[in-house]
C-alpha cells in the first residue's frame, strides 16, 4: 500500500537524518590515526581504542566527567526538591498570585544568558564562588527552576485533590498527607523533572565557560570546547571525549524517552 511505503521511507529518512551525524562521530572515535586522516574517509573503523586511551590519559577526560557528574547531580537533586515544594504549593493552594509566579518563571526562562551573565559573574565573584562547584550549581539551580517547576506543577496537579483530602480525614497531618500519598503518586513526574534538569545541567556551556576558568573544576562541555590544538585539531580525541560525554545521555534518553517526551510537551503545552 502506498501509505505504508511512504511511511517507511519517511521514517528511515528521519532516522538517518538524526543518527548519521552522530554515528559518524562515534565511528570516528573508534578509528586509528591513519584511518582518521584517510581520504576518502573510511566508513568502517577498525574499532581501535587508541583515541580513547589518549583522551583519558593525555587530556584528563575522566576528571571532566567527574566534575560534570557532581555539578549536574547536585543541581538535579536540589532543583527537584525546591521545585517540588513550589509545585505542590501551586497545585494545592489555589491562590491568585501563584499563577503570576508561574508566568514570572516563564518570562525569566526566556532571558538570554548574556543579559544576566555579567552580574551573575560579579555576584559569584563577591561570594568568592567563582571556580567552585557551589557557584556553578547555584547558578544552574536558578536556571533550571523555571522548567522544573512548570513540569512538576503539571504532575502535581494530576494528583486529585480528593485523595489528599481523604488522607486528611483519615488522620494525616498536611505533611503526612504529602509524604504518604501525594509524593508516591507524583513520583514519575519528579523523576522526569530530575532527569531533564540533569541533562540540561550536563549540557550547559555558557555559564560553565564564564564561571569555571580553572581547568581542575571545568565541566565536560567546556573541556570539549576548549580541546587544545595548536596546529591540528586532535579530532580523534575530541570524538572519543564527545562520545563518552554523550553516551550516558543517549542511554538515559532511550530508557526514559516516554517520560521525557511527556515532560517536555507537558511543560510546553501547558504554556
Amino acid at each position: 500500500m502506498k501509505r505504508s511505503a511512504a511511511l517507511v521511507l519517511f521514517s528511515v529518512g528521519i532516522a538517518l537524518y538524526c543518527l548519521v551525524p552522530f554515528l559518524w562521530l562515534v565511528l570516528t572515535s573508534l578509528k586509528s590515526s591513519a584511518e582518521l586522516t584517510a581520504i576518502p574517509p573510511k566508513l568502517m573503523p577498525s574499532f581501535h581504542l587508541g583515541f580513547y586511551r589518549s583522551a583519558l590519559q593525555n587530556y584528563g577526560l575522566l576528571h571532566y566527567v567527574g566534575n560534570s557528574a557532581i555539578v549536574a547531580g547536585a543541581t538535579a537533586l536540589i532543583t527537584v526538591v525546591l521545585g517540588s515544594l513550589a509545585a505542590y504549593a501551586i497545585a494545592r493552594f489555589k491562590l491568585k498570585w501563584t499563577n503570576f509566579y508561574l508566568l514570572l518563571l516563564l518570562v525569566v526562562s526566556m532571558f538570554p544568558q548574556i543579559a544576566i551573565a555579567g552580574p551573575v559573574w560579579i555576584i559569584l565573584d563577591r561570594l568568592q564562588w567563582l571556580n567552585t562547584y557551589q557557584g556553578l550549581v547555584a547558578a544552574y539551580i536558578a536556571l533550571s527552576l523555571p522548567l522544573a517547576t512548570w513540569i512538576l506543577t503539571t504532575f502535581f496537579r494530576e494528583v486529585p485533590g480528593e485523595i489528599e483530602e481523604a488522607a486528611l480525614i483519615d488522620g494525616c497531618s498536611r505533611l503526612q498527607a504529602l509524604y504518604k500519598v501525594v509524593l508516591p503518586l507524583a513520583a514519575p513526574g519528579i523523576l522526569t523533572a530530575g532527569l531533564l534538569v540533569f541533562i540540561h545541567a550536563w549540557n550547559e556551556f555558557f555559564f560553565a565557560l564564564i564561571i569555571m576558568t580553572d581547568p581542575t573544576v571545568q565541566t565536560l562541555p567546556v573541556g570539549i570546547a576548549l580541546f587544545p590544538g595548536e596546529y591540528t585539531m586532535p579530532w580523534g580525541e575530541i570524538a572519543a571525549a564527545s562520545t563518552i560525554a554523550t553516551i550516558p545521555l543517549v542511554l538515559l534518553t532511550l530508557i526514559f524517552q516516554r517520560g521525557i517526551v511527556r515532560g517536555l510537551s507537558a511543560g510546553a503545552v501547558k504554556g
Binding site: W24, T28, L82, L104, A142
Partner: protein
C-alpha cells in the same frame, strides 16, 4: 485560610530566592550597568556613569549593526525550516506503526547531545580535509574541497545547518503534542463529509495545530536569539565577523574585552528583542486560542 497562605509562601520562598538572586536581580543590574563604563576584571578602577553613551555607540557601531543583521538572518532562515521539518517529523510520528517508539527515541538524540559536542561534530563534518560534507560533494577530489567554516559566505550557512539539525526534534515534539490533542472524531467526521487527506490536513489539522505551532515558534525564536555554543565552537564569530551573532558579540565585549558596560547595553538590547517577540507571539497565541475554541 491564613495559615495555608503562609504555608504556600514558605514552600515557594526557597525557589523564589534563587530566582530573585540569579535571574531577577542580574537583569536589573545589567540594565543599570549599561549606563556605566566599567572593566569587569578591574573593579578597582571604579564605575564611570556615561548615561546613554553605550547605546548611542551601539547604534553607530558597524560591528553591532552587522551582528544584528546576522542574527536576524539566522533566525529568519532557521525558524521556518525547523518548523517545516518539525511538522514533517511530527506527522510521521503521529501515525501508529510498529517501531514508532524506537523512532521517537531516535528523534530525541539530537536534542540529548550536548550542544558543544554537536558543534564539534559538525565542525568535523565541515572540515576542509577530512570532512564528510566535502567527501559527499566532491568525492576523493581533494583539490576541490571547500572550507565552509573559513569562508565568510558559507560559515553562516554551516551554522544554520547545524542549528536546524540539533533543534528540529524539540519543535517536532511540541507539534506532536499538538497533533495528538486533536480528537480522532474530527477526522472521522471529515471523512464522512467527503474530505480528501489534503483537505483534512488543511481544514482540520492546521487550524487546530495553530496553538502548538505558535508555541514552537515562540520557544524556538527565543532560543535562536540565544545561540552561542555553536558559534563559539565552530567559528568564534568569524570568519571576519560573518557569524558574529548578538549574544556572541555581547560575550566578547563583556568577557573577552571586559567592557561590561557596553556588553550590558548589548545584553539589554537582546533582552528587549526577546521580550518584544515573546509578547507579539503571546498576543497571536491568545488570538488563535479564541479562534480555535470557536467551533
Amino acid at each position: 485560610m491564613k495559615s495555608s497562605q503562609r504555608l504556600a509562601l514558605l514552600f515557594l520562598l526557597p525557589s523564589f530566592l534563587f530566582i530573585a538572586l540569579f535571574s531577577l536581580f542580574p537583569i536589573i543590574e545589567s540594565l543599570r550597568l549599561s549606563f556605566y563604563r566599567m572593566i569587569l576584571t578591574l573593579p578597582w578602577l571604579g564605575q564611570k556613569i556615561v548615561g546613554w553613551e553605550n547605546y548611542s555607540d551601539l547604534l553607530t557601531d558597524p560591528v553591532a549593526l552587522a551582528s544584528t543583521r546576522t542574527t536576524l538572518i539566522f533566525i529568519g532562515v532557521t525558524i521556518p525550516l525547523e518548523l517545516f521539518f518539525g511538522l514533517g517529523m511530527a506527522l510521521v510520528l503521529n501515525e501508529a506503526f510498529r517501531g514508532r517508539g524506537l523512532l521517537r527515541a531516535v528523534v530525541l538524540i539530537p536534542w540529548a547531545i550536548p550542544t558543544v559536542v554537536a558543534s564539534q561534530m559538525w565542525r568535523f563534518i565541515f572540515n576542509d580535509r577530512y570532512g564528510l560534507v566535502n567527501f559527499v560533494l566532491f568525492g576523493a577530489d581533494t583539490s576541490r574541497y571547500l572550507a565552509p567554516l573559513a569562508d565568510p559566505h558559507l560559515a553562516l550557512a554551516a551554522i544554520i545547518i547545524a542549528e536546524i539539525w540539533k533543534t528540529t526534534p524539540f519543535a517536532a515534539l511540541i507539534i506532536l503534542a499538538g497533533l495528538q490533542s486533536i480528537p480522532d472524531d474530527l477526522y472521522e467526521a471529515a471523512s464522512v463529509d467527503g474530505a480528501t487527506p489534503w483537505q483534512k490536513f488543511r481544514h482540520v489539522t492546521l487550524p487546530l495545530l495553530k496553538p502548538a505551532l505558535l508555541l514552537a515558534l515562540l520557544f524556538r525564536t527565543i532560543d535562536s536569539l540565544r545561540v552561542f555554543d555553536l558559534v563559539y565552537v565552530m567559528t568564534q564569530g568569524g570568519p571576519a565577523d560573518a557569524t558574529n551573532v548578538l549574544q556572541f558579540y555581547g560575550y566578547k565585549k563583556t568577557f573577552g574585552e571586559g567592557m561590561i558596560g557596553y556588553g550590558s547595553a548589548i545584553a539589554v538590547t537582546v533582552f528587549f528583542m526577546s521580550l518584544l517577540l515573546a509578547l507579539a507571539y503571546l498576543r497571536a497565541f491568545k488570538a488563535s486560542r479564541v479562534q480555535g475554541q470557536a467551533p
